[in-house]
């Protein structure tokens, strides 16, 4: 890996006129952004052939800070917008920067269908277990018992496991890390960016202001320590029982496969159409 300084990464890839970012002290989004930019830098990808797409939420503001083409869309719909971009210009690489509420609640249906189609897109998903921008409401990822302003006595619903959802829906590559696992995180993003079809790298990412404060973890380090307690590497998790995994979050690479992506499938469809129509 190429260890360029953070300043170099910043100067090369961020829009200086858009800084500072909106992110709070202790927020993990900046770290994940850096991982993503480092992956792009390491792979020497052409900045003009990447489009960043997002919906609504803190993490969705990322495309505004990076010096690439970017489409900051409506809440939950990023992947539907991305479908149009990618299918019109398959040479473009699409990075969708999403939050857990954006991807798994309001955008849940677009998310699973984009995966079912195997849309050629890399999703970088910030999972902070909360709605940070709107002030700490519970999310579809909030673990049972954790507090948010809309479940002030502790979440009573079951959470989605986004990574498992993506695997079941047919994604080509799925990995989940915490922002603490930066080497693995960068490597996973690099892998994801090079693959055909749908790829997802999910990060558990601290939100001390909206999430931590309400759950007795006022600072990022406290949240990171909590991550250490609740995360289980996937190899170990495979040997654990359902009961042992209760309340835990599995991290690691969930799947790595090579099903044909939507672009390729459509290309073949066009050939078939022309053949059948005698075109």
């Amino acid at each position: 890996m190429n260890f360029r300084s953070a300043y170099e990464i910043r100067d090369r890839y961020l829009r200086k006129d858009m800084l500072p970012t909106i992110f709070c002290p202790g927020c993990g989004i900046g770290s994940v952004l850096q991982f993503t930019l480092r992956a792009i830098d390491d792979l020497k990808l052409n900045q003009d052939e990447i489009v960043w797409v997002s919906g609504i939420g803190c993490s969705s503001r990322v495309p505004g800070f990076v010096n690439f083409d970017g489409l900051h869309t409506t809440h939950g719909r990023a992947l539907a917008f991305a479908t149009g971009i990618k299918m019109v210009n398959p040479d473009l690489k699409i990075i969708a920067f999403m939050g857990d509420g954006d991807a798994a609640a309001i955008g849940g249906n677009h998310f699973i269908h984009a995966i079912r189609r195997n849309l050629d897109v890399t999703v970088i998903l910030i999972n902070n277990f909360t709605y940070g921008m709107t002030g700490g409401q519970v999310a579809p990822t909030t673990l049972k018992g954790l507090r948010g302003t809309t479940a002030p006595y502790g979440q009573f619903e079951n959470p989605f496991d986004i990574a498992e959802l993506a695997v079941a829906s047919g994604a080509n590559y799925v990995a989940r890390w915490t922002v603490f696992n930066y080497i693995q995180g960068i490597n996973s993003i690099k892998k994801a960016l090079q693959k055909e079809g749908f790829t997802l790298v999910e990060f558990l990412s601290p939100c001390p202001v909206s999430f931590g404060r309400r759950n007795r973890m006022k600072t990022a380090p406290e949240i990171l320590k909590w991550y250490q307690k609740i995360t289980v590497p996937i190899n170990r998790a495979r040997k654990m029982s359902q009961e042992e995994l209760e309340g835990k979050v599995v991290i690691g690479e969930f799947v790595d496969r090579d099903r044909p992506g939507l672009v390729r499938a459509y290309r073949e469809y066009v050939e078939r159409a022309k053949r059948i129509a005698g075109w």
Binding site: D69, H72, R77, T83, M87, N89, L92, H110, V270, A277
Partner: protein, 386 residues
Amino acid sequence: MRYPFVTGGSDFIQGDEAIARAAIMAGCRFYAGYPITPASEIFEAMALYLPLVDGVSIQMEDEIGSIAAIIGASWAGAKAMTATSGPGFSLMQENLGYAVMTETPIVVVNMQRGGPSTGQPTLPAQGDMMQAIWGTHGDHMLIVLVPSTVQEAFDFTVRAFNLAEKYRTPVVVLGDAEIAHMRERVNIPKPEEIKVVNRKLPRTPEEERMPFGDPDGDGVPPMPIFGRGYRTYVTGLTHDESGHPKTVDREIHERLIKRIFRKILDNKADIISYHEYELEDAEVAIVATGIVSRSAMRAVKMLRERGVKVGLLKLDTIWPFDFDMIKKLAERVHRIYVPEMNLGQLYHLVKEGAEGLAEVTLIDKIGGEVHTPGEIVKRIERGERR
């Protein structure tokens, strides 16, 4: 360019099919949709033809995704369309506003059926006129065209793409279930006979940096295309000329939204089209749009035979609306009748335009049948006997 259907000749096709063919001839190469009566045939025709002209036709998971996909496609450089009916059009409203705010050229077809809710899926209505104009939230401006024949379904669809590209705006083609399924003779022009307008692209580095600027003073910014090195940031947040979000600056918000209004309203003369019939000596006028204007046309002929001096103003464009034209009409006639397949929508626009200079009378009808000419005749005869 070879088209997978007849060009330069007559055909006998449904309104839905005409819209699909017109879209392709206007340069549409991306369609995303979701099945819904009575617009599915548009999608089916696009699905049949687009792959043959190296375009993309894709079925999305819902109408929200459909309009999202065509907006994305437009930023990647394609002319793009989706089509739906009432329930789907309701779902599209948020992203229709996004297209207004980001000034994305797209064409959205709504073949109206009886509503609200699931309503009368197979039957025509004109109940979505106000929604087409005001459906999305916030102050906004867009263009709404209403075809009344299969030929107009074809012609207005071509026009919708051209207006969308010229003014960098979403354009709604507001048809109905009757036009959707009706088969009618339509003259498909030769490709070279069709005037096709394309969006203006940035011409200078300064314009590249200002994707929401107004270098020509016409309110229409040149549109950068993704993947061509412009590094454009597009957001539905209030933004300045460079595209940067500026969400608490009153002046920037006002400047942006007023420009979006101005680029349409300053060009009313170019955008609005209408037809007058027997209005020269008319003492009574009918103002109608869409399928009902055909009943009204026949009603005018029947009433003229009976000596009633009546004429028809048939609107092709219902938004932007030409209030001045209605005022001028109201100065000449003593009463304006507005037949429409709802309980009063166009009526309110006409009434506002008339400014009390002529009495405006609604001839409403709901339930899924187009007004018969006889119904309009009877209402006018009764009204004029008073």
